[in-house]
């Protein structure tokens, strides 16, 4: 059997800017460790890479600490529009969703798009209807509410600026 490996990223953090307390750092590392362990266990038990990455990402989506799933940031109208994509290297099959609201684990919907639809990318209402048809777990807006994320949004709400986790602002003009 060949070597195996897994790697994760949790995005880039606003808390790095002098705000990372030992307790917060511990909390972030705890979730990262849990996600890593879930993914690695799949591989260790001879599971498929695609299962390992899905497990790991779902674990981070279930945490309010990371900008995905439960921890998604606020968009301009105060909603949470999520995106997810998954791809396997053997077949180069891919599945993706975007502009998706109210779904607990967008990555699992992307997996179903890859395996159970004839398509690669579903957006918005169509993605939501597909998720519902596949019995994915729905969550209301309270599930996605986080005070820290809300305050981040309040700082730039009403402006044309938007903010990545690790930078103050990004100009809205792109080529």
């Amino acid at each position: 059997m060949a070597r195996f490996a897994i790697a994760l990223h949790g995005g880039a953090g606003t808390l790095i800017k002098g705000n990372m307390t030992p307790d917060k750092e511990k909390a972030y590392k705890k979730v990262l460790s849990e996600a890593l362990q879930k993914g690695y266990t799949v591989l260790e038990n001879d599971g498929a890479a695609v299962d390992a990455v899905q497990e790991a990402v779902m674990c981070m989506e279930d945490s309010a600490l990371f900008n995905a799933g439960k921890g998604s940031v606020f968009s301009a109208n105060g909603t949470h529009e999520m995106e997810a994509a998954i791809m396997e290297g053997k077949t180069r099959k891919a599945g993706a969703v975007a502009l998706l609201t109210g779904i607990k684990n967008p990555i699992s919907v992307a997996r179903d798009v890859m395996e159970k639809s004839q398509h690669v990318f579903l957006l918005g209402q169509g993605a939501l209807e597909f998720a519902k048809s596949m019995d994915h777990v729905l969550q209301d807006s309270k599930y996605f509410y986080d005070e820290f994320r809300y305050q981040q949004w309040q700082e730039i709400k009403g402006s044309s600026q938007f903010q990545l986790d690790h930078s103050k602002s990004k100009n809205s003009k792109f080529g």
């Binding site: 070597r3 994760l8 591989l43 940031v73």
Partner: protein
Amino acid sequence: TVGAVACDRRSNLAAATSTGGMTNKMIGRLGDSAVPGAGNYANNKTCAVSCTGSGEYFLRGVVAYDVSCLMEMKNMTLQEAAEEVIQRRILEIGGDGGLIAVDAEANISLPFNTEGMYRAFQTSDGVAGVKIYK
């Protein structure tokens, strides 16, 4: 944005990426790293990649696929290709962020060009870490 890449015991690769976008983003804006080819890609011949950063730049740079192309067409190693894309190509168009990648020999690369990256990794040879790069 969160993501994972893996190489299993059969040397099959996979990548997953999920994001809540950007704070105060325009409604209907699609384009964070969770777009196939731009911020998410897997090909057993080369690598699996998941990106994080300012999504529009990753779309313009077709970053995840670019790493794979550099390996396939220029015979770069995973580390060389990932570094080339994050430390040179994406910077040339003003992009910031990073990626995680793994190849079919379970080599891992974790380059980034901005502060505050949350990373975790583990290989079957016992190399492991959970780090917040400041």
